[in-house]
Assembly symmetry: C2
Homo-oligomer: 262 residues x 2
């Protein structure tokens, strides 16, 4: 395998083989392909699938049919992971004397780091029995998705989705886009601290004009309003809208003369 120490994290995803060992349902093959493609993975390998090719795999792959077209078919696990620098077995339950087991959030970033040095493999067992012991022991690590106590059996396609998602999150984190920040979907820039203070001053003047606030008399009302405004993480456009509303209220009050009702 070529060693490329500067391969960008998101491009390392293309070095991850997803190996399905003896899958029974072609629908799950399609679901795995779709799960992979949505997360930026592309190399699907099948070891002795029960039914393949099959229309159901295409149907469930939806927009990831190209991955089905390029599936690698192998007679055994050894040939499916040949050339990989590391292979990780996906296990539904802990195994005695097996490779070291780690949760996905710990192991997927390491797997991505190892992909700098060559291809890596995630190996999934079949829907009914999982991986045989001999296949687990061929792998270098074991990953186990944390599940609830009562029922811990994820659908095969769903397990592929979770691990591909963790791989993508690891790649985003390594690329400095850590997935733990709000999306950049603000309609306008965030208001500055000063703009919020000016809004609150404006609000206070308006509330006084409306005789809702008595100037000079202690009130917790403005504190509550300030708390609300700050918690809302206001955008500049929102500040403008609110100041427009305040101005309209002031104008209405001025037009209505000076007869406060309270």
């Amino acid at each position: 395998m070529a060693t490329d120490p500067v391969l960008p994290p998101l491009e390392r995803l293309s070095r991850v083989r997803v190996v399905l060992h003896s899958p029974r349902h072609p629908g799950n093959i399609g679901a795995a392909a779709r799960a992979m493609k949505t997360m930026g993975l592309s190399r699907l390998c099948l070891v002795t699938p029960e039914r393949f090719p099959d229309d159901e795999a295409y149907r469930r792959a939806s927009g990831a049919r190209d991955l089905i077209d390029r599936v690698g078919l192998y007679p055994d696990l050894a040939s499916a992971v040949a050339g990989c620098v590391v292979a990780v077995a996906v296990a539904a339950r802990p195994r005695d004397h097996a490779p070291v087991s780690m949760p996905p959030r710990m192991l997927m970033p390491r797997l991505l780091d190892l992909a700098v040095h060559g291809e890596v493999a995630l190996v999934f067992g079949n829907e009914t029995n999982g991986l045989a012991r001999v296949d687990v022991n061929r792998c270098d690590f074991l990953v186990r998705i944390p599940t609830g106590g009562e029922y811990g059996s994820l659908n095969l396609g769903a397990a592929v989705q979770v691990l591909c998602y963790e791989l993508r999150m690891a790649a985003l984190a390594a690329a400095g886009e850590d997935g733990a920040r709000p999306d950049d979907s603000l309609d306008s820039p965030l208001a500055t601290h000063e703009q919020v203070v000016q809004l609150l001053d404006h609000a206070e003047r308006t509330l006084v004009a409306l005789d809702f606030l008595v100037p000079g008399r202690p009130s917790r009302l403005m504190e509550r309003i300030a708390r609300l405004a700050r918690k809302a993480r206001l955008e500049q456009e929102e500040v403008n809208i609110l100041r427009g509303v305040l101005a309209a209220a002031e104008a209405a009050r001025a037009a209505s003369g000076d007869t406060p009702s309270r």
Copy 2:
């Protein structure tokens, strides 16, 4: 809703409603139920499903049929999220003028915190069109699963799986089991530093006895072996096995007389 400030994080999962709005395929309803149960969620709500009840939903639910039996059916989103302290819309793409959007890893821990105060809802749109604008705007936040650029359309059941997984990871983290530590699957306790040093001393004596190492002559061999032993994070039982092997090698050497071959 009852407020219980000490509700343990994992129990908060039972306060999360998963709402599927107008799902088309009963298979996805079953997949959602299975995804939920594997992560410890239990409240599945359907708004005007196209086909329900349906055998396919039961079949795909697998071990989560009880969630299908207890599904809540609603005529519209308002009634499905009635009484919730917060509702989160799941969006495949960014929306203008919509509620604030955050990635799952940021929003799911917050959702779990809010579940201390009452029920919360995750709202999924239908497979073809997602959520209507009016339904998105009824929600308090928007969550968007990060996807690859080329194809970002997760299967509905797979999206439910990812968000339920993030909720469970948030609950585990809040409960102090953070999912970023190795599973406690060691066959025996980890070897101490001293035990590893003793093993290395033993190995050196044995290699000298085998004439593999010349005492007093500088060699990088022992450094390489030490590096390997430390990297392997040896368990006590493994140290015992290796020392047994060394002892057997020494005994064989002693029995063979004193004719070194190198």
